[in-house]
Structures are given as C-alpha cells and as structure tokens.
Symmetry: C2
Subunit: 461 residues, 2 copies
C-alpha cells in the first residue's frame, strides 16, 4: 500500500520528538576516529563501517559489509516499495586527518556543541550529512512500517583518499545496485538560509610535464645564453596556455563547451552572492579570469587551466647562478559539461610539445580525468527535491553549480546510468578539511526532515 502525505506528517512529528536522540547518535559516530589516510587508524575505520551497518540494520535495512582492497563499503537496502522508484543514497564514513590538533578549540574526536553547532572532525563531511538520510529512513520504518520508495545505501570508507575501490565495487555489483536516481549530501547550501540543489559539476583533467635540458645544472656564466634553459622554456609553455583575455589557448578547448543559457546566467546573477566578502576571505583584492564572465560563472561554468605546482633549479636562500637541468610543472584543467577530458588532455600535450624546442626532452604524464556533468533542473527528481527542501527549510532552494569535481557522480552516470541529486545541508564556512569542522544542528534537523519528505515526493513520480 503506497504511503501518503499523512504518513509523512507522522514521521515529521517523530523527527521533532527525537531530534536529541539523532544528535546523540551522531556524537557517538563522531567519536570514531575513522581517518582513511593513515593506516594507524585502520581499527577505527573498521569501527566506522560497523557503526554504519548497525545503524542501517537497526533502521530495518538488510545490510552487508563488503571488504575491498582498501577500506570496507557498507551496503544496506530496503526494497519492499513495489512499483516505486529505487533511490541510491551515497555517503562516506571516513574523515580527513584532524591535524593540526592544536588548532582545534575542542578535541576533534570529542564532539562539542556550542552556538548551535556540533564541532568535530567529520561533522559535516560527511557523517552528519549522511546521517540525515539514515535518520529519515529509520523514522519512516519505525513510524509507518514502510518507506515510500526503495532505498539502497552505499557508504564507503575511502572518499577522502580518492575512492580507489568504489568504481570496482559499482562495476561488480551493477545488478544489485540498479536504481533510478542517486542522492548525495556532501555539498553545501549556498549560504545560511539559502538552501541549494547543485545541478552541475565541473570535471577535471590533469598532467605533469617534465623538461630536461642539459644533463646537469650548468654554470650560468660559462654556458648561459648558449643552451635552452628548461625553466625559461617551461615558463613560456605555461604562459602560452592563456591569452591576454584569460582565454585558454589549447586548440579546440572551447569547441564542445555548452554555453550558459541566459536563464542560468540570470539565476547566478540573482543569487545573494557577497563577492567582496569571498575575496576578503581568500586574501585577494579582486577577481581575475576569463574576460566577459562573472566570478560565479568563472567558478562554476567555465573551464580553466591552472598550474598546481612548478619547480626547477635552486629554491634555497640567496642566489645560485645555474642553468637548471630539469624543470617540471603540474597542470590541471577544470572542465565543464560536454568537454571530453581525454581529448582536452591530448590537445594540451600536443600544444605544449609543439612549443618545446628540439634540444629539450619532453616527458608528459597524463593523470586521471573525469568529465563535467549537468543535470536537467526541470526533471521530476529535481522538482521532488525542491518541494522537500522548501518544506524543511521554509524557502525554495536555489539552483547552483559546483566548481569542483565529485567523481562518484560521474561514475553513477557512467556505470549505473542515473542522475544524482546533490543536496547539501552544510555551509561552505563549516571548516571542512580544516580544524574546528562543524555542522549546524538546525541544518542537521532540516536535512533530516527534507530527506524524509523527499522519499514521499519521489514516490509520486
């Protein structure tokens, strides 16, 4: 028997009554030091996976912990909503290292509540955000005895170290993981009081280039001016990547870029974006980038070409007058939907190679790529999410893009063929990856409520 809005209202009451219990559960979760980057935390990673499995089991899901070559993946499902859509919830129980510990006001693994926030490593990224969906599912099953939709939880333990074993898991269990849409809460609201649905992500392609000139560093007096200096050459190559208008000069770079619609540009322009405050926080006096685009357009919807690192010769104190033997650079391009990462990377390589003089050895290494994604903001999934968020937050969400890449979202599209709803309950000021990470209790409450409503809305599709 399908669930109804009246059922949801009972769930909503239950959520209100049990908010403190959800906070206590989250605190227990946050005490687990599930740092994925450092092998000394492996027992805590195991505890993290077991904690998640226990929560899902208690909620009423069938669960299994899948071992991988790295950290385990927790899987849980409830599939009794016959004829209703199936939703995959993705999250991660691992956290960033907490160093430097001495910059934390309270210990990172001893959650502290102050000024309406819970402070701990993983509070927002991603334990707190992920738990909103565990809470909502548990409440539906507790109060109503069933869920409006089928759910499949995939909660991994390697998100902070590159999700190395997730793709293999998804590929090997494609049938088990069949679903209609994915939900991920690992992003942020646009601003306090401005909830958001993220409908596009930039992709990325990256490389490392190593140039070798002379066989060893040379005396710049004896030989300077007569042989190619790889540091000067690498600077020329990098400088050639942009013209004076900030446009990337890699051949074909913009060929496949989907232009921003007027509607999207207007949408961005109407967001309550405090640009001076952002630049102040970043420590720059003003923005800089591709001519003809606003800061939000540049961050979210335009492709880039940035040096991530460059090195050559002597970097110590004082002068040392050499012609260096070797120069290296790491370059990454953020890509927008419809650009082909492999094509861009190959074009980048050819472009740089052609500029390199014959007497300089050119070694190019291509790094992992992932394409940009944009989802249809008029889809039923989006509309359902919009209603759920408006109910929980009291305002309609804004539609935003994200400048970063979330490779798992590409993987869901490629392997499972589904769109992802990126529903962030946190704030960009929550110090994720930094000391004093936090998550607002109100965001936790609203996120749980929105999640509970989302299941009901998705059932109507």
């Amino acid at each position: 028997m399908p669930t109804t809005l009246a059922d949801f209202q009972k769930v909503e009451q239950y959520l209100t009554d049990h908010q403190n219990d959800f906070i206590e559960t989250l605190k227990t979760f946050l005490r687990i030091e599930s740092v994925s980057a450092d092998s000394k935390f492996i027992p805590e990673i195991k505890r993290g996976a077991e904690f998640v499995e226990k929560q899902l089991t208690s909620a009423g899901l069938e669960t299994k912990i899948y071992e991988t070559a790295g950290h385990p993946i927790v899987y849980g499902s409830w599939l009794k909503a016959e004829g209703a859509p199936t939703v995959m919830v993705y999250g991660h129980y691992d956290v960033q290292p907490a160093d430097p510990y001495d910059l934390w006001k309270t210990p990172p693994f001893d959650p502290d509540i102050r000024e309406g926030h819970i402070y701990a490593r993983g509070a927002t990224d991603d334990k707190g955000q992920m738990m909103t969906h565990v809470n909502s599912v548990a409440s539906w099953l507790k109060v109503v005895g069933s869920l409006p939709v089928n759910v499949k939880f995939v909660i991994e333990g390697e998100e902070e170290v590159g999700s190395d074993n997730l793709d293999k898991f998804l590929s090997e269990h494609q049938e088990m993981l069949q679903c209609d849409v994915a939900v991920v809460s690992d992003t942020s609201q646009f601003a306090p009081g401005v909830p958001a649905i993220t409908y596009a992500l930039r992709g990325i392609t990256a490389c490392e280039l190593k140039l070798t000139g002379p066989g060893q560093d040379l005396h710049s007096g004896l030989f300077g001016g007569s042989v190619a200096n790889p540091a000067n050459i690498i600077a020329r190559l990098v400088a050639s990547l942009h013209n004076a208008e900030g446009q990337v000069q890699i051949p074909g770079f913009y060929d496949d870029v989907l232009p921003l619609s007027e509607q999207e540009r207007n949408g961005f322009a109407n967001l309550p974006f405090d640009e001076p405050a952002l630049f102040k926080a970043l420590g720059v006096s003003e923005g800089y980038g591709e001519a003809g685009f606003t800061t939000l357009e540049r961050r979210w919807a335009r492709p880039t070409c940035d040096v991530n690192g460059i090195w050559s010769g002597y970097q110590g104190e004082g002068p040392k007058t050499i012609v260096p033997s070797i120069a290296g650079v790491k370059i990454s391009c953020r890509l927008v939907p419809n650009q082909d990462p492999e094509k861009i990377n190959s074009s980048l390589e050819s472009f740089l190679r052609e500029l390199c003089p014959a007497s300089v050895d050119f070694q190019y290494k291509q790094y992992h790529s992932c394409g940009g994604l944009v989802f249809d903001t008029d889809s039923g999934w989006m509309k359902s999410a919009g209603i759920a968020i408006e109910h929980a937050f009291g305002v309609s969400p804004v539609f935003i893009r994200e400048g970063g890449s979330i490779p798992v979202v590409s993987t869901f599209k490629e392997i499972l063929g589904v769109d992802t709803l990126l529903l962030g309950w946190g704030q960009s000021t929550d110090n994720l990856h930094s000391p004093n990470e936090r998550f607002s209790l109100e965001g936790y409450r609203q996120g749980t409520l929105a999640s509970a409503r989302l299941w009901q809305e998705l059932a109507n599709l």
Copy 2:
C-alpha cells in the same frame, strides 16, 4: 741595474733544472686540506696561509699575514725595481670541498702523479696555477738577485666562498696595494696546445621575485578560474623576458652593449672550437639562444637572462589540485661590458612589476651585481703577456673572453684602477670543483716559465 734577457735565460735554465723541486713543493701544498667552506677545516686554512707566507718569505719577499673577519690574507712584496712597473699577483690558497670522496681515484689530499698530471683538490684551482708565480719570483731572486719589476702578492683564503673580506682589505690598504697591473692565473687555456689570454669577462645582476596570490592554497575546483594563479602569472612574467628570436625584452637591455667588432667575431670563428663535443659533454642535442650569434659569441659576449630557480605549489608525487598561494623565481642576467648592472636590474624590476596583475602581491629582491669588463688587447700589458706565453708554450696565445664573472677583477679595476692579465695555465677539462681535479705538469712548467718571462717583458714598458 735593470735586468736583461740574458738574466732571464739564466732563470730559464734554473727552472729547467729545478722542475722536480717545484713539483715537490706543490705536492706539499696540496696535502693541506684548506677547504674554506667548512669550519672544521679552519686549522688547515691556517696551515695553508702559513705555507704560502713561508714560500714567499723563502723566495725573498717581505710578508705579512692579515687576519680578516673570515680567513687570513697573505701579503708579500718585493719593491726594489726602482722605476719599473709594479705588478700585483692575486691567487687563493683555499679550495673547494672534496666531496664526494668516493668518486676520487686517489685521495683528494694525497697528490698522485699519473699520465703527466698531478691529481689533487686544488691542483689547478688555484694552488698549482698560483704557485707558478711564486716559483718564478723565487727563481729570479735566487739566480739574479733581483726582479725585473716590483711585485705584490695578495693570496686570499675565501675565493671559494665569495671573497667576502677581500674588498674590505683592498679598500683599507689601497696605498700599500698601488700597482700598475694585476696578474691572475685562475682561468684555463682555450684547449690543450692553445694557450689563451682572457681579455673580457661578463658581469652579472640577479634578483629573486616572490608573487603572492590568495592567502593560502585554494581548491582549484572551487576557486580556479576566478582568482589570479601566481604560478601562471610568474610563468607569464618569465616568458615575457624573451621574444621568439631569443632577444631579452627588458627595456633598454641592449642600449649600452658594446657591439662585437668584426675582428673579434673573426677571432672567435677561427678558434679551434669543437662545438659538437661541447654539446655532447653538456648533454644537449644542439645549441639555443639569441638569433644571429654563434655559440661562442652567446657564451662570451652577449648578455643573457636565465631562470636559476622557480617554485610554486605542489612538487610531490601525483596530482594535487590547488591554486597555489605563492610563486617564486630567481633570475640572473649575465652582462657584457658597458651595461650598467644597477640600471638593468631596476629596468627588470619595473618590467616585471608592470606585467603583474593588481591582485597579486609583488616582492622583488635585488642581489649583488658586478659589471662586465673588457681589456684592450693592444695594450702593452697584453703584448708582454703574449710574448711571454709564446716563449713558454711555443705558440702565440689566442685572445678569448670568459662567460663567467670574476668579481675580484672588477674590484681591482674599481678600487685600484688597474687592468688584470688573466693568464690561465689549466684546461677546462681539469675537473675543477669536481672529483679528480688535476693540473698537467707541462702546464705547470710552461706557466712558471711564462711567468718568469712576463716579469722581464713588463719591465720594458
């Protein structure tokens, strides 16, 4: 009573008869581990200074060891050639560190003679070369009882660590050090069998530039494309230093450059220069530089602008997708005679500063400069040296330039107002500053003979 060529012939015979004694003396000198860079060798530095003083005293000079804030300077003079020119002989008794010891075929401070060479740290740089003048002076005074000219020896112990205390010594003892010309044997012959007089040196001016963009490294996805990336900017600045023809673009850079005469260019072109062998040794397939000039012209007589080091962002293994906060570069320009180092450095700074976007902080630090020098190859000093070398080596010397800078030669010009005769008896293949440093016994013999003849020739001026 002035000395005569007949006197010189007696000296020449004495040199022939006593060559083995000179080799033994040099071996004793080379056993002293007078490494100036490492304070654990300070007792050996002291022994080095005392050894030199003893040699000069034995030769018949009045001597004194001058203490400095660093290592001592040995001074010796013989000033009884009334009416004759006064010649300053400069050299250094300190040596480069001998590391890595395990690459030496025989221990660096246990001189070994094989295949016509003496192998030891300091053999050519500069103990062996400097001793040719001590030997010649000693022989004249022994055989003839007087010298054709007045001589002043200044032998320092900090050449390999920047001669920090030499300028002060020269300034404070200007009257004592008055002379007509200086002689330095610390360079090389052009090639085996091709003795050379070096008549020009390049100067140098150098800087370090630090650019700061955002206050900390930023996530290249969240912010890339919207703020100036200091690594990209520094690459653009560096790339702007040259045009496609390899010409330096700093405003006014070439304004004061003295053009090479046709005679000089022809002289360079006629030298027995094995360009393929040089490039092979340097590990490059071909030369590279300013259009319209040969390799020797580029190395000796054209100004340059080389990056000596560059750094920004992440330099470790694998990708790291950041917009770096800071980028730095060290740049040095080799200068040719008549260019003003301060003017060039200021122009470089203005040029780079103008190219730097307003949102990037620009910090420029000027390093020590020294001008290029060219001496008149038609001077009496040069002619005298030519005759002396031709007598000792059996062929006329070629006139060459040197791409590096020897700051003490500038100092002699600035403080004492004199030209320097740069008479190298070594070879560029003598492994100076490297393991298995050596000096050919024939070069030692010929250099000593040339020195002895030089005094007689200079007396005729």
